[in-house]
């Protein structure tokens, strides 16, 4: 008989992996279309967390109804940042546009953390659970809140898959990520594709922040760990690969959960980076990355 703890650990690992996937796919989307390592990604996570918390507490509404505010806030802030600080790097003849944009996102990351400290204070806040209580599945119990998060995440990922595969914007993204010159010649507005990709990437990070703020809470530099994890995941899965980010996130979520529970939480982070190094040594492009 499979021990209860093992099943709980696997299920928690899957939930964690799927939420990491939301965050990492957002990062991958931005990287694949803009070739940009977005250091502001952790702050989009933070913004999503504060959005659901502030909306639910000020309007006195249920967390579930406040969740769209995370998506909207992430998308709008993402669009504003892209238009104000990043667009010029690609439009104007800047010698090193990617480095410029990367440094801009790094500076913005620090600025946003400090702004959050000033505006909402340095303290920990929590959005209320979507639903309290737990449910008995076979021999183990699962928090109902995590089950809700699992369902929202799966629906969001399926929606994103449909969007990328079937809509005009999704096709434009794929074209720009594969061959930007070809895409421009075909009449695709590359600036608009970049703008929307950045906005959607930010919205996905904010959505994961909104979802997880009901479990982990929120504070000004909460985005740091998810940012580092996302970089590990996208590198593991292969830079620019949406499928890689998804699989990578599941591997990291499961590995983290299993090692923390059966060995020591201290080993979990070490093991994660060891897995990453192992993959990079034997497959430098990551699991699903393509060679140049």
């Amino acid at each position: 008989m499979i021990p209860t703890l093992f099943l709980e650990v696997i299920l928690n690992g899957l939930v964690l992996g799927l939420i990491y996937a939301l965050m990492s796919i957002g990062l991958t989307l931005i990287f694949s279309i803009m070739r940009l390592s977005n250091f502001t990604h952790g702050e989009f996570y933070m913004i999503g967390g504060y959005a659901i918390y502030l909306t639910s507490s000020f309007l006195g509404i249920h967390s579930f109804l406040a969740l769209p505010s995370s998506l909207i806030a992430g998308f709008l802030v993402g669009i504003a940042i892209e238009k104000t600080f990043i667009e010029d790097a690609f439009k104007k003849a800047i010698e090193r546009p990617f480095e410029y944009a990367m440094l801009a996102t790094l500076s913005l990351s620090i600025l946003l953390q400090n702004l959050a400290k000033e505006i909402v204070g340095p303290f920990h806040h929590s959005a209320p659970l979507f639903v309290s209580g737990s449910v008995q599945i076979l021999a183990f119990t699962l928090s109902l809140n995590r089950l809700v998060i699992l369902v929202i995440t799966v629906v969001s990922l399926a929606g994103l898959y449909y969007f990328v595969a079937s809509t005009k914007t999704g096709r434009a993204w794929r074209a720009v990520s594969q061959n930007i010159r070809g895409a421009i010649i075909s009449g695709i507005d590359d600036a608009k594709a970049r703008l929307l990709a950045y906005g959607f990437g930010a919205a996905l990070a904010a959505l994961s922040g909104g979802l997880l703020s009901t479990v982990y809470g929120i504070w000004p530099n909460v985005g740091f760990t998810p940012l580092v994890l996302s970089f590990v995941i996208v590198t593991l899965g292969g830079l620019g690969s949406l499928k890689g980010a998804f699989i990578g996130a599941l591997i990291v979520g499961l590995a983290h959960s299993l090692i923390s529970s059966y060995f020591s939480p201290s080993y979990a982070d070490v093991a994660m980076y060891l897995i990453l190094l192992f993959v990079l040594v034997f497959r430098p492009t990551g699991l699903f990355g393509e060679k140049a």
Partner: protein, 406 residues
């Protein structure tokens, strides 16, 4: 025409008059006495705990104001020299160096967080001054037996001993702890193990460690939840803000429903009750926290006076460490008055043997010279109280005091 000789006489006369005036100025005209300077190195900006730091500074300023109105100390006025400790020990030590070498401070209200307080205590060996700590918990601050450092407050080992005494009184035997990989967690674990034999040999303690600054404690909590037999009490010994994350996940994973009660290793629910209730909701009912302050505690005359002054000036109650800082400043002033000296060795010797009415009781220091044990320049006269929440949103000190019975 004025002769050269006359000019010479006039010049000499001017020089003589100026010299006489100078001598008279420096010898005959009374000058104000030099002020006694006291340093305050405390957190005044994030990420250090600047909220507590501001209140520590408020207390020191209130003390100086109050004391100067009474004529100062030994006829001399007090003056504060203030610096932001930050979380960088190097910065705090450079402030200490400046205060000792340039400002010539006589005593110091030392840093707040142990991370900074311990290196600064060490630095008083090189830049000597009388330093007081209250809520800097690491044992080493007194266990290292620094010549001029006194702790007028609690330390990790002592809080662990008090917790064991509480568990024994309640008859709880199975205690599960989640400890962070930092001095906060490890000191508490080591102290529990050290005192267990003396205080409560029957208790079963199980420790699960977690990395610093995590967001997801599900694996660790799942492990504790799966223990067979189940623990009666769960203690998260993790610093703020992450202890709130654990509290939230404790509720989310259903610990209250399976009857595992939470005992907060320290008084973090009092830091920001709104955050506590946001994190815990209904799961916070039944949670217990220790504190060295109780609304039922009896203050001395000095304590009542400080409470009145503080409330008048700042419109709120001081937290317990502020009472102890007030005592520290009183101790320093009494030492200067009684010894009529600002010599550090004289003052340290006097303070070692002082017995003074503090705000919460008699303050006297234990000076056990056994190497590496923390009862050196250490006061242990405080009482640990335990409170238990009974309703959502309850103010911490309106919760029921369950130990000692009020």
């Amino acid at each position: 025409m004025v002769s050269t000789k006359t000019i010479g006489v006039i010049v000499v006369a001017i020089i003589v008059i100026a010299a006489i005036a100078a001598v008279a100025y420096f010898t005959l005209i009374p000058k104000p006495k030099e002020k006694i300077k006291i340093g305050v190195i405390t957190p005044l900006s994030p990420p250090a705990d600047y909220i507590s730091g501001k209140e520590i500074l408020n207390t020191a300023q209130l003390f100086v104001e109050w004391r100067n109105k009474q004529g100062g100390v030994a006829g001399r006025e007090l003056e504060l020299v203030v610096a932001d400790q930050t979380l960088d020990p190097g910065v705090a030590i450079s402030h200490l160096q400046r205060m000792v070498t340039q400002d010539k401070i006589v005593g110091l209200i030392g840093p707040w967080e142990s991370l900074v307080a311990l290196p600064v205590a060490e630095a008083t060996e090189k830049f000597p001054t009388i330093m007081f700590c209250t809520f800097s918990w690491t044992d080493e601050i007194t266990a290292n037996h620094y010549k001029y450092v006194f702790r007028n407050g609690v330390f990790s080992s002592l809080t662990a001993r008090h917790a064991l005494e509480f568990f024994k009184a309640m008859g709880w035997k199975r205690i599960a702890l989640l400890i962070e990989e930092s001095p906060v967690g490890f000191n508490y674990r080591d102290a529990l193990l050290r005192w267990k034999g003396d205080v409560y040999p029957d208790v079963e303690l199980s420790f699960t460690t977690c990395a610093l600054g995590k967001a997801d404690y599900t694996p660790e909590l799942s492990k504790i939840k799966a223990m067979d037999p189940k623990p009666e009490i769960f203690i998260p010994m993790v610093n703020v803000p992450h202890v709130y994350v654990i509290a939230k996940q404790y509720v989310e994973l259903g610990f209250p429903e399976i009857g595992v009660k939470m005992f907060c290793g320290f008084d973090w629910p009092t830091y920001d009750p709104k955050t506590f209730w946001e994190a815990m909701g209904k799961g916070g009912i039944g949670v217990m926290f220790p504190s060295y302050y109780s609304p039922h505690m009896k203050l001395t005359k000095a304590g009542e006076e400080f409470l009145k002054l503080y409330k008048e000036k700042y419109g709120k109650d001081p937290f317990i460490a502020l009472f102890w800082y007030w005592d520290s400043l009183n101790i320093l002033c009494k030492a200067i008055e009684e010894t009529k000296s600002t010599n550090l060795d004289t003052l340290a010797k006097y303070i070692e043997n002082i017995e003074i009415e503090g705000t919460t009781g008699i303050v006297k220091f234990i000076n056990d010279p056994t190497p590496k044990q923390p009862l050196w320049h250490q006061w242990i006269g405080m009482t640990q109280y335990v409170f238990q929440f009974a309703e959502v949103g309850q103010e911490p000190y309106k919760a029921k005091q369950i130990y000692p019975a009020s």
